[in-house]
C-alpha cells in the first residue's frame, strides 16, 4: 500500500505533515547496502496536526451523570507493558476531558484481560453487563479481540482498538469493531518491503508465535517476501528456550530474521539467536516494540529493527509532556493511538449521547483528524489513512528510523 498510502496521507493531512511525508520519501530513496543497514538521517517525527481533535474539546460538553467508557485489555498480565502504554494514554485523555468539561464527567472503567483470549471473553461479559459503559477502548491484542468481538457485536457496544492488527478482525461482520491503526495487511507487506529493499536481505527466516496476531502477521510477511523465505519456525507463548529454532536458523544462515509475536518471547529469542555469534538482522513488529524487549534481550536488542503502525509521539509536544507527567515514562507504543481512540468516544458523550446505539452511530460517522492520523472508518471499521513506521534499537533506546508504508 505504500504509494497509495502516502498519497492519501498527503491528501488528508497535507497541512500538517509535510515534513513527515517528505522525510518518509527521503528514507525510502536511500536503499541501504548489505544486511545491516544504518540510517543516520532518521525521519523526523510528525508534529501534532494543528486541527487535531483533543479530549478537552471546547469545554462545553454536556452529558448525563454516571456515564463511563472502558479500557479493556492487559493491565497486569502477559505483555502488560503494551497494555499499560495504551491505558496511560486513555487515562490522560479522560483526565484532560473531565478537567475541561465541568458539565460532562466521564468515569473510566478498567478491565484486565491479562492479554489472554480465554480470560477476555469473561471480562468482556462483565463490561457488557455494566450498562453505564457506552464505549470501549480495546482490546489491544488480536487474539483477545478475535475471541470477544462477537459479544460486543451482539451487545451493540462500540470498540475502538488502538493496537489489534490482525486483518481478519474486520472481516467478521461485527459492526461494533473499529480499528484505530493500520492492520497487518499493511504492516506485513511494508515490513517485507523494508526487509527486501531497505535492508537488502535476500534470504529471510520468518518465525511466529502461536497467537492469532503472530500467525496472521507472519503469513502476510511470508506472502510478501515470496521466495526470499528460507525457513519458517513457530514458537509458543511463554517459551524461553529456543535452541531448536535457533539451530534451524543457524543452519539456514539467513540475511534477516522476522519475528512475529510479542516481546515476552522475543527477548529471550533475540538473545539466544545472537548468543552463538550468528550474523543476521532481526526485524520484529509492533508487539515487540517496547522497552521491556530492549531490557530483557540484554544487549541482543541492539540494531534490531521494529516495524509498527504507530506514529512516533515525540513530535506531539503537549501530549508528550502531559503523558510523561501522568505516567512517569515517555509515551510508548500506541499511547497516542489510545489517546486518540478515547478522544473519539469522549466527543460522543460530550454531544449528550446517552445510549450505546447513539455512540456506535457517532463513531461510524466520525470524520476528523486526531493526533496520530485522520480518523474516518470504512464499512468494515478500517481506517483509510494508516502510516507504518520503522524504529530501531540504538544504545538501548528505541528510536524512529523511517516511515515505510
Amino acid at each position: 500500500m505504500s504509494k497509495n498510502g502516502r498519497l492519501r496521507i498527503l491528501a488528508v493531512a497535507a497541512t500538517a505533515s509535510l515534513t513527515l511525508a517528505g522525510c518518509a520519501q527521503g528514507g525510502n530513496e536511500e536503499p541501504a547496502e548489505g544486511g545491516a543497514a544504518t540510517n543516520d538521517s532518521a525521519a523526523a517525527a510528525p508534529d501534532a496536526p494543528t486541527d487535531a481533535v483533543l479530549p478537552a474539546g471546547d469545554g462545553t460538553g454536556e452529558c448525563e451523570d454516571g456515564l463511563s467508557i472502558a479500557y479493556i485489555g492487559t493491565i497486569a498480565g502477559q505483555n502488560a507493558a503494551l497494555g499499560v502504554a495504551i491505558l496511560n494514554g486513555v487515562r490522560l485523555a479522560v483526565e484532560e476531558h473531565n478537567e475541561a468539561n465541568a458539565g460532562c464527567q466521564v468515569t473510566l472503567k478498567e478491565f484486565d484481560t491479562e492479554g489472554s483470549p480465554d480470560r477476555a471473553t469473561g471480562v468482556v461479559t462483565q463490561a457488557i453487563n455494566d450498562d453505564s459503559i457506552l464505549g470501549v477502548v480495546g482490546l489491544p491484542f488480536s487474539g483477545e479481540s478475535d475471541a470477544a468481538g462477537q459479544s460486543f457485536h451482539e451487545a451493540g457496544l462500540v470498540t475502538i482498538s488502538p493496537s489489534a492488527t490482525d486483518p481478519a478482525l474486520s472481516q467478521n461482520g461485527w459492526d461494533t469493531f473499529f480499528r484505530g491503526l493500520g492492520n497487518d495487511a499493511q504492516q506485513g507487506p511494508a515490513a517485507a518491503t523494508f526487509i527486501g529493499d531497505d535492508l537488502g536481505a535476500e534470504s529471510v527466516c520468518v518465525v511466529n508465535d502461536d497467537s492469532s496476531y503472530g500467525i496472521g502477521l507472519a503469513r502476510e510477511v511470508r506472502e510478501a517476501l515470496g521466495d526470499a523465505v528460507v525457513c519458517t519456525e513457530e514458537v509458543k507463548t511463554n517459551q524461553r528456550e529456543f535452541s531448536a529454532v535457533v539451530g534451524t536458523i543457524e543452519a539456514a544462515a539467513p540475511d534477516a530474521v522476522f519475528y512475529a509475536g510479542y516481546y515476552t518471547e522475543a527477548a529471550p529469542f533475540a538473545q539466544q539467536l545472537f548468543a552463538r555469534g550468528l550474523q543476521t538482522t532481526l526485524v520484529a513488529p509492533d508487539g515487540v516494540r517496547d522497552d521491556q524487549f530492549v531490557q530483557n534481550a540484554v544487549g541482543a536488542a541492539e540494531g534490531v529493527y521494529l516495524t509498527c503502525p504507530c506514529v512516533p509521539a515525540d513530535g506531539f509536544g503537549d501530549f508528550f509532556d502531559a503523558f510523561t507527567e501522568l505516567a512517569g515514562t515517555e509515551p510508548s507504543t500506541y499511547s497516542a493511538e489510545g489517546y486518540d481512540a478515547t478522544t473519539i468516544l469522549l466527543r460522543a458523550l460530550d454531544e449528550g449521547l446517552s445510549t450505546r446505539e447513539e455512540v456506535l452511530e457517532f463513531v461510524r460517522d466520525y470524520d476528523a483528524p486526531g493526533l496520530t492520523k485522520h480518523f474516518k472508518w470504512d464499512e468494515d471499521g478500517e481506517l483509510t489513512d494508516t502510516p507504518v513506521w520503522v524504529y530501531r534499537v540504538e544504545d538501548g533506546e528505541i528510536v524512529r528510523d523511517r516511515e515505510i508504508g
Binding site: E234, S243, G277, N296, A297, V298, G299
Partner: protein
Amino acid sequence: MIGNLPTVLAQGGVDWISFDIGRLVDQFWYNTVNGLAYGSIYSLVAVGYTLVYGVLKLINFAHSEVFIVGAFGAYFTFQFLGYESGGIAQAPLIETIVNLVLALAVAMICSGLVALTLERVAYRPLRRKKAPRLVFLITAVGASFAIQQAIMLWRNPNPELAIQLVAPQPLFEVFGVSVTNIQLTVFLAALVLLLVADSFINRTRLGRGIRAVAQDPDTATLMGVNKERVIMLTFVIGGLLAGAAALFYIMQIPQGVVYNGGFLLGIKAFTAAVLGGIGNLRGALLGGFLLGVFENYGQSLLGGQWRDVVAFVVLIVILMFRPTGILGESLGKARV
C-alpha cells in the same frame, strides 16, 4: 459435517506430526552440545528429587519452587551488587567471577533454606503422624502452589528484567558446533558439584548415614543413626544443588526469573531422576544429561513445539514400563 471428518483427521493426523530425520542428523552435534549444557541443570535439580525419594520415598513436588527461589536469590544478589538490567555488565573478569561465586552462594543458601523450611513445616508434622504417602504428595503440591503464588504476589506475574553478567560468546568448536563460554562454564561447574555430591554421599560419614536410612530406616536408627538429622541433610543437599542449578539456569536464560519458572523445569528434572533410576544419585546425573539431549533430538526430529511432549512421554513410558529407571533405584540398595 461428519463428511469432513476424513479431511480433519488428515489435517490432524498427518500434517501435525512429521519426522524430519535429515534435520536430526544435521543438527545432531548441535543438539548434543546444547543438550548437555542444559541437561546439567536437570541433573542438579534431579539430585534433590532423588535423594529425598531415596530416603523418604516421597516425591517432593515443591522442589521446583526450591529451585526458583534460588533463581530469585541469585537475581537479587546481582541487583545488590549493582548490576542493572538491560545492558551487559562490563566488569573485569576477576570481579565477575567473584560476583558469580557470591550469587552462587546466595542462591544455594536461599534454596537450601527453603528446602529445610519445607521439610520442617510441611513434611515433618506428617511424618510424626505417620501419614500415608499420598498425603505427603498432596501437601507437597499445596506447598508448591503456595510458594509460587507467594512469589507472584510479592513480585508480579511477569519475569524480572533480565540481568546478565557475562555476555555469551562462542569459545571454540566441537564437531563443527560452537560452544559458548556460558555453556562451558555451566557444564563444568555442574559436573564438579555433582561429583562433590556423589563423593559426599559415598565417602563421608554423613553420607553413609543417608545411605543407611535409605536402605532401612529402622535398622539405621537402631545402629545409632540420627534419622531426623539425615532427613534434614538430604533436603539441604538437594536444596543447595537446586540453588546452584538456578544460577546456572539464569546465566543461560536470564529472562527466566519468574514465579512459575521452576514448574516445568521441576517436572523435567523429576523425569530425569526417574529416567536414571529414582533414589539413585548417579542415575540422576545420567538422567539429567540424557533428558537434555533427548529433548533436543526430539525437537529436531519432530519440531520445536514437541519439546515438552518428549519429556512427558519419556516420563510416562519410564514410569509404566521400567519404573526403576536405567540404573535402578539404589541409594543404598535396590528397593523391593
